[in-house]
Amino acid sequence: MATLVSTIPKVRDALQATFRSGLTRPITWRQHQLYQLARMAQNERELICDALKKDLGKPKTEVLMAEVGSVIERAVKSAEHLPEWAKTEYPKVADWQKSWKPTLYKAPRGTVLIISPWNYPMILTFQPLIGAIAAGCTAVLKPSELVPTFSQLLEEIVPKYLDPNMCRVVNGAVPETSKLLELQWDHIFYTGNGRVARIIATAAAKHLTPLTLELGGKSPVIIDSAYDIDLAAKRILWGKCNNAGQICVAPDYVLVQRDKQDELVKALQKHYNAFFPEGALDSPSFGSIVSDLHHKRLTSLLSRTKGKVVLQGRADAARRRLEPTIVMDVADGDSLLEEELFGPILPIVPVDSFKQAIDFVNARPHPLVLYAFSDNESVKQQLVSETQSGGIVFNDTFQQLAVNELPFAGVGESGYGNQVMKHTYDTFTQLRSSIDMPKEAEPYLAIRYPPHSEEAVKALTAAVYTRIPPSRL
C-alpha cells in the first residue's frame, strides 16, 4: 500500500515538468479539474462513507455533512469564482506612476505538497487541494496512514477523476513522508500537530519553502454567568461529540463561574441523554477513537485526573469506543489540562471571576479558537481585545467552519497561514508585481542618471521634507 520510496522523487519531478509545461494555466482547464473533484465526491460518496466508517467509526451523517458536502460545494463555488480571483489586478497609484502600468499578476506557486491528518481526512485533504488547483499548481496529496482504508481509496479514485499529470497520491508512513520532505516544494500545506509541524518546518527551511501550518491546541470555552446555561451546554456538548471530540476546533475545556458549575453539569447531562438515549457506546450517531494508542492515551488521562467525574463514559478498548465523559472541579495542573484532549472528555474548570478566566486563557499558548457564551457587548469586546486566538466564536461551537468567507487559521502555537475559499486560492498564489516603463518617461527620469547634479539632489530632497502633521506623545 505504501508508495515505493524510490519513486517519490520521480513523482515530484513529473509534477514539476507538468507545471513548467503550462498545462495548468488556462482557467477553463482548472475549472474542469475542480468540477471533476466535485463529481468524485458526489459519485463516490458511498465508498468514502464506508471507508471512514471502517477507519473511524464515523457516522454517515457526519461524513456527508461536514466532509463530502463541503468539498462539493467549495469545489463548485471556487470554479465559479475563479475568473474573478485569477484576474490580473491594476492597483491605483499616484498620478506620476500611472504611465508605468503597475500590474499584479496572480502566479501559481508551482508544485506543492499537501499533508493531511486522520480526523477529517476528506475535507482536510481536498479543501487545500481545491485552492491549489484553482491557483494553477500541481500537487502531491499525502493522506494519513492512520486512516488506511480511506488513503487506499484515494489512490484508486483520484486518478479516475483528476489529471494524474497534475495531482498524485503518495501513501505511506514515516519513511515515505521523510522522503517527501527531503525534496523541494513551492509550498507545503500541513494540518496536524505541533510536534510534527516543527519537523516539517525544519525540513522546509532547508529549501526555503513557504508553509501553511494548521495545528491545534486547547480551545477554551468561557461561559458568562448571565448567558442561558442550558443552551450553552447543548451547543458545547454538540461540538465535543462531533467525531468523538477528535477535531482541532473541539471545545477542549470549559471555564465557568464556580456558582454556576452544578447548573452547567445538570444541563450537560440532560442534553447527553437527549443525544444518546441509550448512551453513546453503541450509538451510530457517535464515532470511535482512531487507534488503540489514542484510546489508551485518553483513558490514561482520565485515570490520572484529580477532578470529579460526573458523567462516567463507558469504555470498550476492543472496539475503540469511549463515551463522552464530563469532569468537574478540574484545577490548574490537572492531567486533563496537560495537552490537547482530542477526545470526548470535557473538563470543567471553575473560576471566581471573569478576569480569572481571561488570565487562565492568556497564560497558555494561543488556541486555534476561543469560544465564549455571552450576550454582553462589553464582555465580548474585552475578549476580542485582551486575548489572542486563531478565531473567536461567540455563542456556538464548531459552526464557524461553515462560513466560507472567514479565513480558517491559527496563530502562535496553533499555526500560521490560512484557508477556505479565496484564502486557500491566495495561499497557493504568488502576487507577481510588474511595471512597464514607457520610453516617453525618459525626460522625467533624466535626473536619476549620474553624474548627480545639485538640482537633482534638491528635487528629490523635497520628498524628504513633506509636511508632517503635528502631534504630541
Partner: protein
Amino acid sequence: MSSMKYTPKQHITEIHSRLSKTFREGRTLPLEYRRKQLLQVARLVQENVDAVMASLKADLGRHPFEATLPELGPMVSSALHAVQNLDEWNSPEKPQVEAWRSGWDTTIFKAPKGTVVNISPWNFPWVLTILPLIGAIAAGCTCLIKPSEHAQASAALMAKLIPQYLDPDAYAVCLGAVEETTHVLSLKWDHIFYTGSVSVGRIVAEAAAKQLTPVTLELGGQSPVFVDGDSTNIEIAAKRILWGKQQNAGQVCVAPNHVFVQEQHQSALVEGGPLDSSSEMARVVNARHYERNKSLLFRTKGKVVLGGQAGQDLRIEPAIVTGVTLDDPLMEEEIFGPILPIIPVANVDAAISHIQSGQKTNVWITFHVSMHVDQLCSKVVQRTQSGQLIINETFGQVAVYEMPFGGQGQSGYGSYLGKYSFDTFTHQRGYINVPADARTEGFMQGRYPPYSAPALEFFSQALKTKIPDA
C-alpha cells in the same frame, strides 16, 4: 572604522521580555498611539537628514542622491502613507454571506501578531530597517530591530535615534553580529522579518521552525534581464539597465544581475551604455566583497569590454563583460557588485529555457524584460516565475507602494510595502456570533444527535449541488 559595541545577550533577553510585556498590556493597540509613533518615525528621518546621509557615506560611500532617492524619501513617505491609511487597514472586514447565516455578524478582525523582530542587511541599511518597522507599528506589534554589523555607522546612529523618537518599551534596537543574532533567533517571536542572503535565510527559517514562528524572507538571487533587440530601443534599454546596475555599486537585491540579448544585438547594447568617469558611484561594502568582485573579473572567460578598474577606497568601476556563458564564474552566484555579464542567445525562448533550468536563476525578484510586443510578454509571464516582473525598467518598481515586494522560491517568501507591510504583521482573526433565539436554534435542530433520516436529508443538500457540464 571604530568597532561597534554589541548588545550583551542578557540584555537582548531583557529587551525581548520588555517588548512582550508591553504588547500583552495592550499599549500598542490604540490607533492613536500607533499614529503618533509613525509620525515620530517620519520626524526621526526629517530632523536628522544630514546625520543619516553621513552614516551612509561612511558605510557605503553613498552620494547624497543615492541616499535620498532610495532611502530617505521612501522612509518619510511610507510613514506618512501608513498614517493616512491606518484606519482603513485596521477596520474589521464584514464579508457578505449567504442569507441563512446573515444573523451571525461574520467579521474578520485585524489582530496584531505580537512581538516581532526585523533583521536587516547592510546594503540599504536605513530603508530596509525602517519600512518593515513601519508595518509592525501600524499593525500594533512591538518590534526589535537588529541592523547589520557591516553597516556600522548606520546601525550606531539607529541605536542612538530610535530610543529618542519612539517608545523604548515598544520598539528597541540591539547591535551585534553572528552570536547576538543567533541569540535573538533562540527567543520566541510572533514573526521574524529577515532581509539578506539565502544561506542565512535557511538558518533563520530553521530557527523559526523550532518555535513555529511565521517568517518573511526577503532574499537574493540572480535577476536576469532579457533585451529583445528586435523590438526595443537599445539605447534606452542600455541606459536603464546600467543605471540599475550602478546603484549602490550593484549591491542591491533587485540589481539587474546579467543580460540575455540576441547574438546579433550584443555590440549595439554595449555601445549604448554611457559611462561617465566622473560619476560618484558608491563603493563596495568591505574588503572581502571587494576581493570577491576583483576575483570574478579576473576569472571570467568573457571579454571585459568596458570598465572594471579596481581603485582605491574599495571602489570598482562598473564593468561590462560580453560573450559570457552559463558556466562562467560570473554566473556561479548573485554578483552583488558592479559587474554586468552579457550572455548572447538565439532568441527569447533560449533565454527562458536557460532561466527555467538554472536552479538559482529560476525564481527571482525581478525579470527585467525590455520588449514591447504583447505576445512575447505573455510568454514570459506564463513560462517564467519570479518575485516581480519588470518591463523596460530596472529598480523603479520599488517606488510603487501598491505592489507587494517579495520573492519566490530561492528569493524568499512573504512580501511588504504599503498595505502588504501591515498585512505581514497582522493575523486575520475570524469571528462569528450565533444568536440564541429560538428561530436559529430550531433551524439548527437537525445537527444534534441522534441523527435522523430527515436531518440527513436536510444536510445533504450540498451533496446534490448541480455540477456544471464543463
